[in-house]
Every structure is written in structure tokens, then in C-alpha cells.
Symmetry: D2
Subunit: 296 residues, 4 copies
């Protein structure tokens, strides 16, 4: 299969790598020429403009957008639209709001797949979890690509109609906030509590057989190993919050109570000093997402 990839940042480059490694052809474009060169170095065919990319893809285009959520998605779609027809498929693999995805699906000639992508840069080797919304035929057509980008056939599924993929990803992120904060609370109590504990040892022991073992807990263990059990100079300041905010907003519209997810978001808002739990969350976001760690 031939896939056009637009946006060659950290995540886009991983998509290129994994799709090329699976034996597919990739035509890669980014406004940053250096990024295009990197993609070429890993086997993609570089394009120096969107138009060049669509020319190269010919009929029945399959295009994967991996650009920042918001205006960049609309800008790319606007430029692509004249070249698209009903046989084409566009995937948005970013963190778009599901309502934007529904609007974009309605506004394009192509079949439009909204694809929530979880796993972060740390997922480069294992592959991602892909939650896909949109027309069934388009999802099925792209399964070989999803197999390559995901952990394999188990790592992706069609969630439902347009928007369902980004909807499920939005909720995923809300849960993620709460899981991180829950671990943070536990480690805060251990850190402040009445025993002098080695938190890396605690995390390691839990990761081997305990009910609460998880990938995020492995990232806790890594954090304590790399920063020390007291997290060194990691600051009590948690950035981010848009997808968690969307989750709470949607739950308000649905009348669904989400006290833990809300509180996790509220902790971020409140994070302006030395809450150990939030210092841990700050560092965890580096663990899976390579978000910059703010330091004191």
C-alpha cells in the first residue's frame, strides 16, 4: 500500500518508520525540509509540497495527517480538498476534538477517519493503540497500515461512526489523568508517611504481580530510578489539560458524574507548589510523552 504522511514531527516520523518497516510505500511531507530528509533516510519518498505528494499518490489516495490539533488540520485539509474525491481516504491521527472531526468528515469529499493514537513517543517500538472512527470500508481498506502503526491487529479497532475514534481517545485521556493522580496520591502518602521507604523498590515490587501493575506504574518506577525517590528538583507544576477539559465538558453535557477525572484536572489547575503527587505527574508526562519536565 502507498501512504502519504503529512506532518513529520516526533509522532509522524514514528508512523513513517513503522509503515515503511512493514513494507509499505510512504510519501512524506512536512514544511520542515530537514524532517522530510529524515523521513527519506528511513525509506520514505519525500515530497516538497502537498501538491507534489498528492500527484505522487495518484488515484485512491490514502493520507495520514499527523499535524498538531486545531488550525493546522484545517489548513492541511483545505489545501488537500481540491485533490480529493470519494475514493480517497484521509486519516487524522492527532488529538483533535471529536466534534471537529465530525465537521471535517462532513466537509470533505474523501472518506475521513478520525484516529485516536495512544502510546506516545515511548510507543515507537511496541506500536500504538489506535481508536478509529468513520466509514467501515475506509477502515477496512487501511487495516494493513493500522496493523503497522499499532501494536498489531489487536491494537486498533473501529469504534464507530465519524468522531467515535477521537471521542474514545478523549475519554482515554481523562482516565489517564486520574490514573496518574491516583498513583501520585499513593506515593505522596508513602513519601510523607511514617516509614522511610525506597519508592523505586515499592514501584518495582508492585509492577511484579500486584493488582495495580500497569505501564504507568512502570513509568513511576523509571521516574524514581532516574530522579531519585524524592524526585529531586522536579517541580509541582502540571502543564496540559485540554483533553481532560474536553472529557469533563462532554460529561457535563451527558449528565455523567466524573469526580476523579474532574479532581485530577483541578489538581493541575491548582498546581503551583510542592504537591509531591503533582511533581510525579509532571515527571510521568515526560515518561510517556517526552513533555518537557519543568524544574525548580
Amino acid at each position: 500500500m502507498e501512504l502519504g504522511v503529512i506532518g513529520l514531527g516526533r509522532m509522524g516520523q514514528i508512523v513513517v518508520d513503522r509503515v515503511c518497516s512493514a513494507g509499505h510505500d510512504v510519501v512524506a511531507f512536512d514544511v520542515d525540509e530537514a524532517a522530510v530528509e529524515r523521513a527519506e533516510a528511513t525509506g520514505a519518498s519525500g515530497a516538497d509540497s502537498l501538491a507534489a505528494m498528492t500527484d505522487q499518490l495518484g488515484a485512491e489516495k490514502r493520507i495520514w495527517l499527523m499535524v498538531p490539533a486545531g488550525d493546522p488540520v484545517d489548513a492541511a485539509l483545505d489545501e488537500l480538498e481540491p485533490s480529493l474525491d470519494t475514493h480517497d481516504i484521509v486519516v487524522d491521527g492527532g488529538n483533535s476534538h471529536f466534534e471537529d472531526s465530525v465537521r471535517r468528515a462532513d466537509g470533505t469529499e474523501a472518506a475521513y477517519l478520525d484516529c485516536g493514537t495512544s502510546g506516545g513517543p515511548a510507543g515507537a517500538e511496541l506500536g500504538f493503540s489506535l481508536m478509529v472512527g468513520g466509514p467501515a470500508w475506509a477502515y477496512e481498506e487501511l487495516e494493513p497500515v493500522f496493523d503497522a502503526v499499532a501494536t498489531g491487529p489487536q491494537g486498533h479497532d473501529r469504534m464507530g461512526e465519524s468522531g467515535a475514534g477521537h471521542y474514545v481517545k478523549m475519554v482515554h485521556n481523562g482516565v489517564e489523568y486520574a490514573l496518574m493522580q491516583a498513583y501520585g496520591e499513593g506515593f505522596e502518602l508513602l513519601q510523607e508517611g511514617r516509614y522511610d521507604l525506597d519508592l523505586e523498590s515499592v514501584a518495582k515490587t508492585w509492577n511484579n504481580g500486584a493488582v495495580i501493575r500497569s505501564w504507568l506504574l512502570e513509568l513511576c518506577e523509571e521516574a524514581f530510578r532516574e530522579e531519585g525517590g524524592d524526585l529531586g528538583d522536579v517541580a509541582d507544576h502540571v502543564a496540559g489539560g485540554s483533553t481532560g477539559t474536553w472529557t469533563v465538558q462532554e460529561a457535563l453535557e451527558q449528565g455523567v458524574p466524573l469526580p476523579l477525572i474532574y479532581q485530577s484536572l483541578a489538581e493541575r489547575f491548582a498546581s503551583r507548589n510542592d504537591r509531591f503527587s503533582r511533581r510525579l505527574v509532571n515527571r510521568l508526562r515526560y515518561g510517556f510523552g517526552r513533555h518537557e519536565v519543568r524544574r525548580t
Copy 2:
């Protein structure tokens, strides 16, 4: 090594099986003769009384208690005490409160290890996570047994002095409550939300590569597979709560805020009754606004 095991319920039997499988000798006792016979069938030597067990163990006794937390632990220790001296080691593998463990460690001649055990009956094959408190020499002496009961050498560690093992296990359970409730909130929003989703597919997709993958999420997937995506007749009623209560109590003493863990416990309480608080709010809305009072 020769290990006496007292208490042959579901968890005690797993300890017997794993220790026998690792090539150690087990002397097993329970007040239920059928349980003793089951232990014998898996290679243990059965004892028909505590005294018979201690006789069989001879000098340098190593004894694993796997009886329900509370009075049964004290009862077993009272009966054992005359046979114990400073060369002996007693392990409490149950969910005792850490303060009871400190008290018991102070009250026995033997070296006393408090051992938090996580993994549940589902951990029979993989092995458990063991968080151990108490004298270092006793912990080291029992490492071969811990290797066998845990997932292996990575699955156990000495957390610190007496009580530290059950302390860490207590906090583990508090975190466990919050993780379960966090997943619950996410799936609730997906279930009540604007797409018609297959929750088993969501859980499976997340378990393959997503940031929030975990063993508890695998259990969510299993639950949806076995009960259906709407959870069938599973009730809105969550039992249990003692270790979560202890976690919150300890955090109150330490002045550590645990809003997610507290809220998870509060949800359990709330699932068991009508809320008087909400009935009053219902009525107050009539008081100031003449809104209709809904009645049972």
C-alpha cells in the same frame, strides 16, 4: 527449606502450591480437615493441630500465617507463642493493619515479618507481589520462600521495619480503589455518551499499546467479555472498604490530601444506600424555589 503454613483458604492453598512446586517442604494446618487434605494432595505434609505442626518443624521454625486479618491472627499467635523463640520466623501474609503488625512483632519472641500480598486468587500462576516489613535477617532467610510465592526475585522486597510491609500494602489498596473507579468513570461516560460503543473492543484496543493499559484494564476487558458491554445484571453496589478506610485514616493523621482515593471509597459507601444529603437538597430546592419535590 521447610515452611509451616497456617490457614489453607484460597490464598493459603496457593502459597502451599507455589512453595511445594519450588521444591520446598511444607507442613500445612487448617481447622478445616478437608483443606488439610487438599494441601496434602498437592505435596504438603498435613498437621492436625498447631502443636503437631510446630513439633514437626523442629528448631528454627519458619511459619506463614494466611488467616483472615484480625482476631484469627492473634489467636494463632497466642497458640504459637509458647513454641517460639528468637531463632524462629513468623510471616503474616494477610491484610492486617500495620499497627497490629507492629504490636504483634513487639509481642513475640520470634522474628515477625508483615507481608502484604497482592495479586489475588488470579495470581496463582503468575505469583504475587510481596511487600515485606520486619528484621532484615529474617527477610533474607526467607528469600527462597518469597521467590516461590512471588513472581520471582523481582516480586518481593523488604520495605523497612516492622509494619512497613502492611503499610505499603494498605496504600496499594487505596490506589487500587482509585484506579478501578477511574476506569469505571471512563467506561461510564462511553456507555452513556453519544456513540454506541463496544466496550470490550475499547478495552482490548486500549490494552494493546495505550498509555492506560494495565492488568486492571485487562480485567475490565474480561468483565465486558463475560458479562456483556452493559454489564448485564451486575449491581450498582460495591462491597468492601476496610483497607481503603485505613488508607484515608492514615492520610488524615499525616495531613496528606487524597481526594481521589477518598472519593473512590465514598462511591462505595454511596452505592449501598439512598443518600440522605441528596434527599435534603431535593427538598431544599422546593424551600427556596418551589421546585417540585420528587417523592418515592
Copy 3:
């Protein structure tokens, strides 16, 4: 002063009564003729159409809208607009969203005052608390009317530019949710706790000198007196929630944490349904611990 009042429901009728009692002239209109007749009985001059009302008011019209928030406000404004010019003043005394009020202020020739009104039907005798947004000259011009509708000159003030009145009222309602739930929690603990208490006596004693005395606590006392200390057949079901939802939505946009107000809203949502989240936790406890699953 001559005031036109549109909307003669419970709250509109109180406005008519209080303004007439203060010696002003009222021209009253409602689509319900019986409501107009009631207004006439208390001293207003009835109008049988909006047009008739505006004719009667002549130049420099002062009009008070007391219709349900949402479309009815826009409908009334659309019909009024051709008769309005820059010397006229329109007050929206309902529970409109502040962003709608800003939009309406921008869309009319008249000076537009958004007026949050608190006190409920129970405030008929005491007068209301009025939080007003919009042009200063219009607020000052209408002070005699505000004096009459409010508890007096202390019971109203100009909060700021357009929207500020409904903004402050929105936050007022968020606080109101939390205050009610806070009292509810206290009385729930007293009701479920270890003493057999007379909650009406508790509320009465608190209302006389205690730190937590308030008008809502007087309404609690009234509720226990009228319904009994166990609240009889009052249901665990709290309706309403729109202004609280707006408050939380605005706080999300501002990045302000509101855990108590959020939780109070979540309690309302939770009072209306089984919680899927808790049903999942119920089932998960079987998953790892083989705890019995309670079923409906």
C-alpha cells in the same frame, strides 16, 4: 416611573406586586390572559399584546423581562426590537447565560441590563437580591425599580459591564449547590450516626447563634418540621443543574478548580441513575479477588 413587565409567572407577578406597592405604574403582559388579569388585580395596567404594551409605555420605555431563559427571551426581544431606540431600557431578570446576555446587549438599540435575581418565590415579601450588568446610566435610571424589587437599596448593585450580572448570578448558583450539599452531608452523618437525634431541633439550635446559620439552614429546619426528621418520602433524586453546569464550564475555561461545586453537581447527576462506574468496580473486585458479585 412606568415599567412594562413581560412574563407574569410566579416571579414576574412578584415583580409586578413589589413595583406597584412602591408606587410605580406597571403595564403588564403575558400570553396567558389569566395572568394578565391577576396582575391587573394587584394594580397593574394589563396589555393584551406586546405592541399594546409598548404603545402604552410611549418614549423612554423601561421594560422588565421575566420569561424563561433561552428562546423565550430572544422571541420577546425580536418582537420588541422595532419599537426600541437608544433611550429605552430592557432588563432581563431571568437566569440567562451571561454570554447570551452579552450577545443580546450587542443586538439591541436599547440599553440592556442583565439582572440576576436571587431569593426565589420565597423572597416575595422580603425582596430579592439583584446583580445587574450593563450601562451605568441605565442602571442608575432604574434604581427606583430595583429598590422596589430588591430588599431595598442594599439588595442590588451594578456588577459591571454587560453580562456581569448574569455572570455573578451563575456563580451564586454554583455556590448555592455546594452549600445545600454541605448541609446535606452534615445532616446525613447525624441521621446515620450513633445518636438518635431530632434534626429539626439541631437545625433550630444552629440557626440561633451558630457559625453556620443561614437562610438555607432555616429552610432545612422548615423541611424537617414539615416532612419529619427522616424526610418521609422525599426521594433521593435532585433535579435541575443548568446554572451549576455553566459555573463549572466557565471555571474550566478559566482554569479555576471548583471541587466542591463540581461534586455537588455530580451528586445531582448521580442521584438520577445507577452508576455504571460502580457496577464495573463491583465486577472488577471479582476479577482480581474473586469477591462475590452482587447482582440485581
Copy 4:
């Protein structure tokens, strides 16, 4: 009636003043001689020792303890006990834990009344709200004194058996935490939100007719008037927390969920920087209790 008052701090002196003003005789004792002299200046008869006080009171002693909760109560009772018999009555008007009160009631010959006292130093003129537990005959016997110390006959009542008074007071304080935090959240949103508001005007307007008017809201108004709408240099640091902690602990034992009260306590624990809501609570505790305001 003749009443002995032990403990002549701020609250004890108010008790002396109000009981003297009502025409009763007071014998006052404190370890601080200056305090005894102040009590004498307002009409009490000073005693220079507990023994001198009990001698003066003769048979059928009525004694009001107004000493700090904890050991000072036990110390005073130990010293009094030899002089007490079954015709005597001792009132503990402080913030004792209800379980201590039950224990003390069981341990004395005298009839023991636990009396929760709300209103703080600010209640000196209005009188307090008194929640009393213990024997009915003793409560009735002391009604004239309660009438004097409380706002009047409506401001006190017998809640039930021993401990019930301090139990109800404990819950009162839990509710108090939540009410303060709820106002704090509302004002935080107004302060951080999109309008430039005069928070003193908001509070004043609300206090005149709004649903959420209360004495605590009057204290908010006072705080903004005295400190400015931005609360000046009032720090984000909330001290105290013992009675709120007791409330949550009791609710844990009763299985009653108290999310708002818990969260209010958690906010105090978390208060180490610039949460506007907590700065307000800091200041409010001065408003009713004259607790020192910590400043930056």
C-alpha cells in the same frame, strides 16, 4: 443560680459576662490571676484555687468548664472529682471529642453535660448556639444558665445522651469547613474570571435577599471591606483541622460519604500557596474566631 466557671480565656470570660448580666452569681477561677481579676471586674466572685471555688459553691454545685480541649479538661476534672457527688453538674463547653465526653461522663460522680458551643468570640453580644448532651434533669436544671449563654431559649437544646452535644458540634464544624470552602470557590472564580468585580459589593448584594445569604457570607463581606477585594497580603495557608478530621473519621466508621467536607479538609492540608479560596478561608477564621491571620 450560682455557677462556677473554670477557664477565663476569651470564651470563658464571655460566659461569665453573659451569666452575670442575666442576674446569676458566678464564681470564677483561672490559673491566670489577671483573668480572675477581669472576671471580678464584670461582677463575678473570684476564686484563687479550684478548692476555693468548690468550697464557695457549697452543695449542688454547677460548674462550667471552658478550658482547652484535651488534657486540661481531664486535669480539671481530676482535681474536682473529690468534691463532686451525684447532685452536682459539670458542663464542658469546649470542643472536646465526643468519645472523651462519654468517657468523662462515665468517670465522674456528677452529672456531666457535654456542650458544643458555636458562635465564637464574635458571638459575645448575640449569644451562642449550645448543643448539649447528657442527663435530661441536669440539662433542665441548667436551663437558666443556657438561656443566658445562648442567644436565648431558642439557642440551646438537649441533643441526647452523653456525647451527643459534642457529636453535633463536631458535625457542625465539618459543615462549617465546607461552607467556607464553597464561598471561597465562588469568589475565586469571580476574582479570576472575566469581569473586573468588586467582591465586597457582590457579597453585600448577596447578603441582602439572595438564597446564599448567611452569617459566613457577612464575614466574607467584612473581609473584603477590611482587606480589599484582592485580600491584600492574606496568605494561602489554612490552619486548624482537628474537628473536621474527627468528622471525616466518624463518617468513615459510619460508612457515610462526605465528599465536600473531606475535600474542604484536604484543601487545608494542601494549602501552601496562592489559592484565593483558601486565603479567604484563612481570613474568615479570623472573622468568627479571631484566629490569627497568617500573612505573607
